[in-house]
């Protein structure tokens, strides 16, 4: 360091020297912002613009105004997708309490517990494609493990992926498997940092079990809960891989979600309705923006508080 100071010239400090504090951040930010603007920010607006056109990806784009949205309002598949998104969202939230209880279950110091924790976390490390394939096998009619278990217990197996009324729930269960593991690891880390003093104090006051959890532990786990809720909501609304791998939205579209329906309309074999797909994406985006705004609101509050 001292060498550098010695090197600095005696003359008037250069323009760069005087202004580097205000210019440097922009130099550091430029590549990141450029990439992000090109691949994330601009496409959002381009998609919104495209949703007012009819385009098959080959010919000319034709302006249809709000035509795509009018069509959406009258599209049964859209409502099926929306309904399934709600099911995903509600059921997926189970990952938060389930992860919490799993973390509490594992938060001990018996021998080998570290290995157990890693193994329980395992599903999150695996690609959703593999999770989807694993559960396809699990549910497969005839020889699937679950199918056989049910057949053994009740006499007739259930092909969950062929049943329009069950299929979405079956998919959510597959999605929950890694998500619970994720929430578990968040809570395990959170539990590590719970203040022992407060627990001792509460114990002296006679708190235990549920009351201890609710009044003493959970308030201290709030940061973990916030992250768990955020990633779970986003994960639920982004669900695409599992649907694509396990059912392609079937049978007859009953397991579609908005993200998959959009892909189907825009890029699948029978699709190439880019404008209509964009309109579906805009709706999904609007729904997610409600949540994103909420998260950001809280984070801005935290920033200000710091």
């Amino acid at each position: 360091m001292s060498g550098m100071a010695a090197m600095s010239p005696q003359r008037k400090t250069s323009w760069w020297k005087r202004n580097q504090r205000s210019i440097a951040p922009w130099l550091f930010l430029a590549p990141g912002i450029a990439m992000f603007a090109l691949y994330v920010i601009w496409p959002i607006f381009a998609s919104i613009w495209l949703s007012f056109f009819d385009w098959d990806g080959l010919g000319k784009k034709a302006w249809v105004g709000v035509g795509n949205y009018v069509e959406l309002i009258d599209d049964e598949n859209f409502y099926t997708s929306l309904k399934n998104n709600v099911i995903w969202l509600l059921m997926f939230m189970l990952a938060v309490p389930a992860g919490l209880f799993m973390a509490i279950f594992l938060n001990q110091t018996v021998t080998g517990i570290r290995i157990y924790k890693s193994m329980f976390f395992f599903p999150f490390v695996i690609s959703q494609v593999v999770v989807g394939l694993i559960f396809s096998w699990f549910y497969a009619p005839g020889f699937g493990l679950l199918y056989q278990l049910i057949e053994w217990a009740t006499g007739t197996g259930i092909a969950f992926l062929a049943e329009p009324d069950y299929v979405t729930y079956a998919l959510v269960v597959a999605g929950l498997w890694p998500q619970i593991a994720y929430c578990m690891i968040l809570y395990l880390t959170g539990l590590n940092n719970v203040s022992p003093d407060q627990i001792e104090a509460a114990r002296l006051d006679g708190a235990k079990g549920w009351r201890m959890l609710w009044h003493v532990i959970l308030p201290q786990l709030r940061p973990a809960t916030f992250i768990a809720v955020v990633v779970t909501i986003i994960g639920a609304l982004r669900s695409f891989d599992i649907v694509s791998i396990m059912t392609d939205g079937g049978p007859f579209g009953s397991s579609r979600v908005l993200s998959y329906y959009m892909y189907e309309q825009a890029l699948s074999e029978y699709g190439y309705r880019m404008g209509y797909g964009a309109a579906i994406a805009v709706v999904l985006f609007a729904i997610m923006m409600v949540f994103i705004t909420g998260f950001i609101w809280k984070m801005v509050g935290d920033e200000r508080g710091v």
Binding site: L58, P141, G142, P164, G250, F252, E269, Y270
Partner: protein
């Protein structure tokens, strides 16, 4: 890190190298295709023959994965056009023709007498009075059945629909699925619909329906579904969750008796252990007496993209592929039917039956999802699948399809 960047660059440059690998004297014809392993070999042989006959031409085949090709073609037609590209006949080629992506090749047809030799494909290759490509193969659809299962249930080949339905009753008593299918990918269900519709209402009605000229709530459509309803209870229960190959296994294992399928399934049946002695084929039985028999025979085709650079040699290749000798050899290797009526088929009983079936048919349909535009095809096939699971939803299904028809055809 060095390694990864190097291989990254290598990957990119290797791709561009292939395109310039031909020797300088030869004229290059670039051909994009979507063959599976076995057809790929057959086509490599055909290309070798063509190059022997035309030593100054080098055909460079770029083979794509079959599913990925459907997306890829839209990109390479605009971004990096080859001189030849595989596709399908019927309405499936209409979006490309209308967008000006395929070239008119009527002259190839006229110069080589293809209008006569390929007569059965004229209809499916013509849009606006012009030909847009050349067909090289098709295959029949029909009813494949397990002869052992027929014997065990004491059942004979049905002569008509009433007998087919009566047989189903007997199979059911024996705990066997009368008709199997796997509709996870949707299209196998459309084969069943097409045949019941063709036999109930005839070829012209099929073409009008897929062309959007008839309402889905029409009484004739309902008549088709009424016939379908007769066998619905006898169809493999979990068909919506299984693929067509899974259903083929059911036929092989004797758990199912009949399968409405394309001839490509024969290979799967035989891999599973069936032989010419245990596997049977019949034409789909007659439903309405007096309706002329029409068949499904989806046709695979080759086209010249609008952006082709070597059109003259591409046309030479098309003429070669259309010729009787080339199609005889090619289809013998493919195990399918030549589209050229001057070609011959080998000894395989299923090919012989297919050639007989298709060449004597009063009409040849391409298949529901090739005759109907994409949006209608998708909605229709979902409707068919739903009907097979929940036949009580029929009215709602037909209303939904009618709604799609209102917007899919403009």
């Amino acid at each position: 890190m060095n390694v990864s960047i190097k291989s990254l660059l290598l990957g990119v440059s290797a791709a561009s190298l292939i395109a310039f690998g031909a020797s300088a004297q030869q004229r290059v014809v670039r051909y994009n295709a979507d063959f599976d392993a076995a057809p790929l070999k057959a086509f490599e042989a055909l290309i070798a023959d063509f190059e022997t006959a035309n030593p100054d031409i080098d055909v460079q085949l770029t083979n794509f994965d079959h599913e990925g090709y459907k997306t890829a073609i839209r990109n390479f037609l605009t971004a990096d056009s080859p001189d030849l590209a595989n596709w399908y006949a019927g309405n499936r080629m209409a979006p490309f023709v209308k967008a000006g992506q395929f070239q008119d090749v009527t002259d190839v047809w006229e110069a080589n007498g293809l209008n006569e030799q390929l007569a059965s494909s004229v209809g499916s290759m013509t849009i606006d009075g012009k030909k847009w490509g050349v067909p090289y193969t098709y295959y029949q659809w029909g009813v494949y059945y397990n002869k052992d299962v027929y014997k065990k249930a004491g059942v004979t080949e049905p002569k008509n629909w009433a007998e087919f339905v009566a047989n189903c009753e007997k199979f059911k008593a024996g705990g066997i699925d009368c008709l199997t299918t796997g509709t996870k990918a949707l299209w196998p269900g459309a084969g069943i619909f097409d045949y019941i519709n063709l036999r109930t209402n005839g070829y012209a009605f099929h073409m009008d329906l897929t062309a959007g000229k008839v309402a889905w709530t029409d009484a004739k459509v309902k008549a088709t579904f009424a016939e379908w309803a007769k066998i619905q209870p006898y169809i493999t229960a979990n068909h919506a969750a299984i693929d067509w190959q899974d259903a083929a296994a059911l036929l092989v294992q004797g758990k199912a008796a009949n399968y409405v399928m394309g001839n490509f399934a024969v290979a799967v049946f035989k891999e599973g252990g069936m032989t010419n002695d245990t596997l049977g084929f019949i034409q789909f039985p007659e439903i309405t007496a007096g309706v002329p028999r029409a068949e499904e025979a989806p046709t695979d085709t080759i086209h010249i993209p609008a952006g082709a650079k070597n059109v003259a040699d591409a046309k030479k290749f098309l003429a070669y592929v259309a010729s009787a000798e080339a199609q005889t050899k090619l289809n013998a290797a493919l195990g399918q039917l030549p589209t050229n009526s001057k070609s011959t088929v080998g000894d395989d009983p299923f090919l012989k039956a297919g050639f007989e079936t298709v060449s004597t048919a009063q009409g040849v349909a391409q298949f529901f999802d090739r005759d109907a535009p994409a949006e209608m095809a998708k909605a229709g096939m979902e409707g068919f699948q739903e009907f097979m699971v929940k036949p009580e939803n029929l009215d709602a299904i037909l209303e939904r399809l009618e709604k799609v028809r209102a917007k899919a055809y403009n």
